[in-house]
């Protein structure tokens, strides 16, 4: 088994704000991240797939095609966008990186051709904060 990782990046605005809570409660829980007019980040996304190299190509999956797929299906929707407002698959969800990485996984799984298997997504929000997701429950 070999693991292949493609690294992509995007910039976006978001805020952490639970509409079911008062402004005071949001400020208490989310601090500056609840700023009503948004803030933003340079996000980095590491997409890791796993498999056996194909005997004819030596590839698990063409890394260039993987990059094109991530760009077309994910980054087109996220890059230079407002994650709370503009992104169909984040509608009604809290825009934490935990939730975002799970939703990106769901989107990618829909579009990756068989037998390419997603192994891990790593989503970096700042130089000090990132999440990893390996799928499943």
């Amino acid at each position: 088994m070999v693991y292949l990782t493609r690294i992509e990046h995007f910039n976006a605005a978001h805020k952490l704000y639970n509409p079911n809570w008062s402004k005071e409660k949001n400020d208490e829980v989310f601090g500056k991240c609840a700023n009503e007019n948004w803030h933003g980040h340079n996000f980095e996304l590491y997409v890791t797939i796993k498999g056996e190299p194909d005997p004819d190509t030596g590839f698990i999956y063409d890394a260039k095609k993987l990059g094109a797929l991530v760009n077309e299906k994910i980054l087109e929707k996220l890059d230079h966008r407002n994650l709370n407002v503009d992104v169909d698959f984040m509608k009604g969800k809290m825009c934490s990186i935990e939730n975002l990485v799970v939703e990106i996984w769901k989107q990618l799984e829909l579009h990756l051709p068989q037998p390419v298997t997603l192994h891990c997504l790593k989503l970096i929000e700042t130089s000090k904060i990132y999440v990893e997701y390996y799928g499943g429950k």
């Binding site: 007019n37 948004w38 407002n82």
Partner: protein, 139 residues
């Protein structure tokens, strides 16, 4: 003779939302010039700021400038204004000024300059992304 000047640099970071938009132009022109950066609902960045102070080290302390004091200054003048803010909506500095990296660097220079010893040179380097950065003043 070799210069006795030394440069000291403090790095800080802040996160903010913004969009690039010239209100004197229509939406189509803004989109043509600024592309995705003009999208109406804002996007954002992790801004990495490097503040460089150049001068002769003080004879008593050996410091060009106390970097803890510089850090505190950046936190009060820059971080306090811009961190986790929308530069277009939440700051008076960019109410009428397009918040490009160039303009942000010039604004930060003007905010810090009055607080730094006149004998010392100040230079701002601002990374908007790991791949794009600006410097002010340019040599």
């Amino acid at each position: 003779m070799m210069s006795k000047k030394v440069a000291v640099i403090r790095k800080e970071q802040f996160n903010a939302a913004h969009r690039l938009y010239n209100p004197d132009w229509d939406d189509a022109t803004n989109e043509k010039v600024f592309g995705k950066c003009a999208l109406p609902n804002y996007h954002g960045h992790n801004y990495e700021l490097e503040v460089k102070i150049t001068g002769k080290p003080d004879k008593k302390t050996g410091y060009v400038m106390d970097l803890k004091k510089l850090s505190d200054l950046i936190k009060s003048e820059v971080h306090g204004r811009f961190d986790h803010k929308n530069l277009n909506l939440d700051t008076k500095e960019f109410k009428k000024l397009n918040p490009t990296a160039e303009n942000i660097a010039v604004v930060i220079y003007k905010l810090l300059r009055p607080h730094i010893d006149k004998e010392k040179d100040l230079m701002i380097r601002l990374y908007e992304t790991p791949r794009n950065y600006v410097e002010y003043p340019a040599p």
